[in-house]
Symmetry: C2
């Protein structure tokens, strides 16, 4: 893997929360002060194509893929309280969504499935506080 791509992936892997491209940029600048947005975006694009990174469309943010099922679309659960993101791969669900959209002749190519809510920790924390 190319050095820039590796650096970007490492930054994402350090975090369980989604980071924006500019969060990644700020982190990288500690070591490489001259790095530019373009560099980060190019790395993110490549990593996404490889399935190593997911973009959270509803947050304009990115996480490292943790599911080791690179290539399959995931259902992404985003905690609105702590920002943590869980991945869940469920081919049957994808098929069900494809079937639903296909009824009108639509041909599905890419799925974006994001669920906002509260993770187990924050839900309990909020309830007992």
């Amino acid at each position: 893997m190319k050095p820039n791509h590796l650096m970007v992936l490492d930054v994402l892997k350090k975090n369980s929360k989604a980071l924006t491209a500019y969060d990644v940029l700020a982190d990288l600048r500690h070591l490489h002060p001259k790095i530019a947005p373009t560099t980060v975006y190019r790395a993110l694009t490549a990593l996404e194509e490889q399935g190593r990174v997911h973009r959270i469309e509803s947050k304009s943010a990115y996480i490292a893929c943790r599911c080791d099922q690179h290539g399959r679309a995931s259902v992404l659960s985003v905690c609105e309280d702590c920002g943590r993101v869980e991945e869940c791969v469920d081919p049957e669900l994808l098929d069900a969504i494809s079937t639903a959209t296909s009824k009108t002749g639509f041909k599905p190519l890419r799925h974006v499935i994001e669920v906002h809510g509260l993770c187990a920790i924050c839900e309990n924390g909020a309830a007992t506080s």
Copy 2:
């Protein structure tokens, strides 16, 4: 409904394609040259809360709700060729997704389900051209 909100909704209703906030702004400026981004965004936020407008997260764009089921999350099919968006309300699908994400204790609150692909017209057009 407030005049600004109505104007914004009307612009969106004229189009079957998703429009960005600045597309809406440009359209409104034909008649109201002094209107500002803030005004459009405030209207879009209010209309979204009422379920009259959906935001396509993966395009940073907006469409008028056509399903007359304001309030229920929709599956949005976005044609990557012509930009048209179809809505499809399927409570069972939402429940299935909620169930999948709930396995880890996650509490789902808002669903973002967007499918990119080709609509029937573009799929056929592309095939026969």
